[in-house]
């Protein structure tokens, strides 16, 4: 009898007000001591098999095996350190600077048969400058040694997925730009933005305070004090969706590297995996959140300025869908015209280092392949016209 009553009470309580607070924020008293029978990583893989099997067809198996295998890293050279020594050392390891190679690739083969008027803009204009990132050749699985502290008191290079550098390159920073990084943590792309040396002011924001803490640590380890001075680099922990209201029409360049299902990470890390059953709702409204963030980022862009949207997911719904949805939203609700920038030429520059998906409707997608296990990384460049 007592048991029945208890059970009834429990049901009631469950249905009551507690439903409003997201389940993950409630205090968890008991932690499981055994592993879940059906881990979130497996749920993630199932989800991917279903959606990407259809989306990519015959390409999917090779993407799948790459996602499940060890990823490849690139070494972003720290320009604030003794970078010439660092470059010599990296070259000794038989790595090469893929950015430099891409530029020289263009120089050696200028577009043939194109009338001058529609010739592509010189690369130096289209790509953010001063970025030097080393990778090993296609098929080479060597690892970089851990970064060390150089003589100038900062670490010599930052190991990251080389594909993560492409959105920053595509943004095409110019000297003196005011830059906003809307979802900055854990800080790889923010660091790259600073490496260009073009940021008059950089605003880096991330909702999570712990992740912003990581961002700060990265800046401390890599950037000298005068560059990361508060007047020049401002780190905040606010809700990125508010930026349209807070600082509308302010920035020359905006990077919106939204939270996504982090495909590669979700297949390996069990902890806090977004494919957990308890986070299903959250995952389902993710595209909506991404639209809101991109809209805010575009609102914060000056008319005539540029924004780059990027994710590390392969999903249509989080990539092209979001870009197209946001453009429509801004046109309808705010009467703001946004144009998609064609990155075909940009893509061609980097084809020696990365594998690209050939049929994106808008933007570009780096797909993982065992020969070059970078990505996934989707990026799309937008220009705010009005």
């Amino acid at each position: 009898m007592a048991a029945l009553v208890l059970r009834g009470v429990r049901e009631l309580l469950r249905r009551a007000d507690f439903a409003t607070a997201p389940r993950r924020h409630r205090h968890k008293k008991k932690w499981a001591t055994t592993e879940p029978k059906f881990p979130a990583t497996r749920l993630a893989l199932q989800n991917f098999d279903m959606t990407y099997g259809v989306q990519f067809g015959d390409l999917w198996p090779s993407i799948r095996v790459s996602l499940l295998s060890e990823q490849k890293y690139g070494a972003l050279v720290n320009n604030f350190g003794t970078w010439d020594h660092v470059i010599a050392e990296l070259e000794r390891l038989s790595a090469r600077d893929f950015v430099n190679e891409a530029f020289s690739h263009w120089k050696l083969e200028p577009e043939k048969g194109q009338p001058v008027a529609s010739a592509p803009a010189p690369v130096s204009w289209a790509c953010s400058p001063n970025l030097q990132c080393f990778t090993f050749a296609k098929g080479d699985i060597s690892c970089f040694p851990r970064a060390r502290l150089g003589s100038l008191g900062v670490l010599d290079y930052y190991l990251m997925d080389a594909a993560s550098l492409l959105p920053v390159l595509a943004l095409g920073l110019q000297p003196g730009d005011t830059v906003l990084d809307l979802c900055a943590a854990p800080g790889g792309k923010t660091l790259a933005l600073l490496q260009t040396g073009c940021c008059r002011n950089l605003a880096a924001n991330d909702l999570s305070t712990s992740r912003t803490g990581r961002l700060q640590k990265v800046l401390h380890s890599y950037v000298p004090e005068d560059i990361r001075d508060e007047s020049r680099v401002r780190v905040t922990s606010c809700d990125g969706r508010k930026w349209g209201e807070l600082e509308g029409d302010t920035y020359d360049r905006v990077l919106v590297d939204v939270p996504c299902t982090t495909d590669r990470h979700s297949l390996h890390e069990e902890e806090n995996n977004i494919f957990q059953r308890s986070r299903k709702k959250e995952r389902q409204i993710l595209p909506l959140l991404q639209v809101q963030l991109l809209a805010a980022g575009l609102l914060a862009t000056k008319p005539g300025g540029y924004a780059v949207y990027s994710t590390c997911s392969l999903s249509h719904l989080q990539n092209e869908y979001v870009v197209q949805g946001t453009i429509e939203l801004l046109a309808n609700q705010y009467s703001i015209e946004v144009q998609v920038e064609d990155l075909t030429h940009f893509r061609k520059l980097f084809m020696d280092t990365f594998f690209f998906f050939p049929s994106c409707q808008v933007g570009e997608l780096v797909i993982p392949n065992l020969m070059a296990n970078f990505g996934p990384m989707y990026f799309c460049k937008l220009r705010r016209l009005t």
Binding site: L68, S69, P186, R241, V258, C312
Partner: protein, 359 residues
């Protein structure tokens, strides 16, 4: 039919093979040789007419040839120091006849007798007869002994003991032949080691007796494996790949190296082309047959089963080797504590507290 008849005769002859018989024959032969030699002298010195001469010539010629052979060989044997001369010369004749009786041809016998390092004739006879008794034909016996002369060094007692054991295991005749061709150490290895392997197969892997025989017959190299590794290989097949006992035996799974097994299986698994069957034995993908995975060449495997390129598989093999080496930790520590060393496994991810979705 004729072969069968020959076999019957052979066996018939074998039946009569006891040491007593041999001894008797030896003495008999000795007399015979004396007689031949004595016969020869009068034949050559005094010519007699007709058939008797021819007949005796023919017989004597045959005996002459054999005697020559034997004298040659006995001379060779005599050259070898430390061999009891008269016994050696004596045993040789007995051996040759016994070998002939067992069904060896002259060519075979010559081969056997020329094996280096030279065994004692008695030894040679003992070993060969054991092998014949186990059901091997003369030709394979020759091949085996030539290939692995160390077998001739075995003490007879061990040989007999091992033969009994092999018979108990069900390994004889043709099965033994194929095992011996690859794995002659089935006779020379320690009983304890064979026991270990058989025990792993019977008690740990739970194969039936017939299945164990079949495995030893088809995949004799399991005898060379470390028992622990053999068990691991089986467990990989059974639990990780979901292959049942019957299929393990039928497809000769145990003969492939664990490296090759893991490479091909994990590659297919990660491609999404192989799935371990669940409790009910079902999969969402149609798994390729084990033959198409393991028995085919690598080129065919990649072209037909995996539908992937050679370069990708090469890279995969290297990555897998590294993964195996490093165990559960990664090559570069994925993140959480990685900030000071400056690593970022792809921006926006790899975080101890992912986010609650809002940034």
């Amino acid at each position: 039919m004729a072969a069968l008849g020959r076999q019957v005769i052979d066996w018939h002859r074998l039946m009569r093979l006891t040491w007593a018989t041999i001894a008797r024959q030896t003495s008999h032969l000795r007399e015979q040789r004396m007689t031949v030699v004595s016969l020869l002298r009068p034949l050559t010195t005094a010519s007699r007419g007709g058939s008797l001469k021819e007949l005796s010539c023919v017989t004597s010629r045959k005996y002459m040839q054999e005697a020559e052979c034997r004298t040659d060989l006995s001379q060779c044997l005599l050259e070898k120091p430390g061999t009891p001369v008269d016994r050696g010369a004596l045993g040789l004749e007995a051996i040759t006849t016994s070998l002939l009786d067992m069904g060896f041809s002259d060519a075979h016998i010559r081969e056997l007798l020329s094996i280096q390092p030279r065994p004692t004739p008695q030894q040679l006879l003992d070993i060969t007869s054991e092998l014949i008794l186990l059901g091997l034909n003369p030709e394979p016996v020759c091949v085996v002994l030539k290939k692995s002369p160390q077998l001739l060094k075995l003490p007879v007692k061990q040989m007999k003991k091992r033969s009994t054991y092999l018979r108990k295991l069900g390994l004889g005749e043709g099965k033994l032949k194929s095992v011996l061709y690859c794995c002659p150490e089935i006779f020379t290895m320690r009983q304890r080691d064979i026991n270990d392997i058989v025990r792993v197969l019977r008690e740990k892997c739970l194969f039936t007796v017939q299945q164990v025989t079949e495995i030893l017959h088809r995949c004799p190299y399991v005898l060379r494996e470390d028992p622990g590794e053999l068990e691991y290989k089986f467990q990989y097949a059974y639990f990780r790949m979901g292959i049942k006992h019957l299929d393990v035996v039928k497809t000769e799974f145990l003969k492939y190296s664990i490296t090759k097994i893991k490479q091909r299986h994990i590659y297919l698994e990660r491609l999404g082309r192989y799935q371990t069957p669940d409790k009910k034995g079902q999969t969402q993908v149609l798994n390729p047959s084990l033959k198409d995975i393991f028995r085919v060449s690598e080129a065919e495997f990649l072209a037909k089963t995996a539908c992937s390129s050679v370069e990708e598989f090469e890279v995969f093999k290297k990555l897998l080797a590294r993964e195996e080496e490093e165990g559960p930790e990664g090559c570069t520590s994925d993140s959480e504590e990685g900030t000071s060393s400056g690593e970022d496994a792809g921006d926006g991810d790899s975080e101890e507290e992912f986010t609650d979705g809002r940034n």
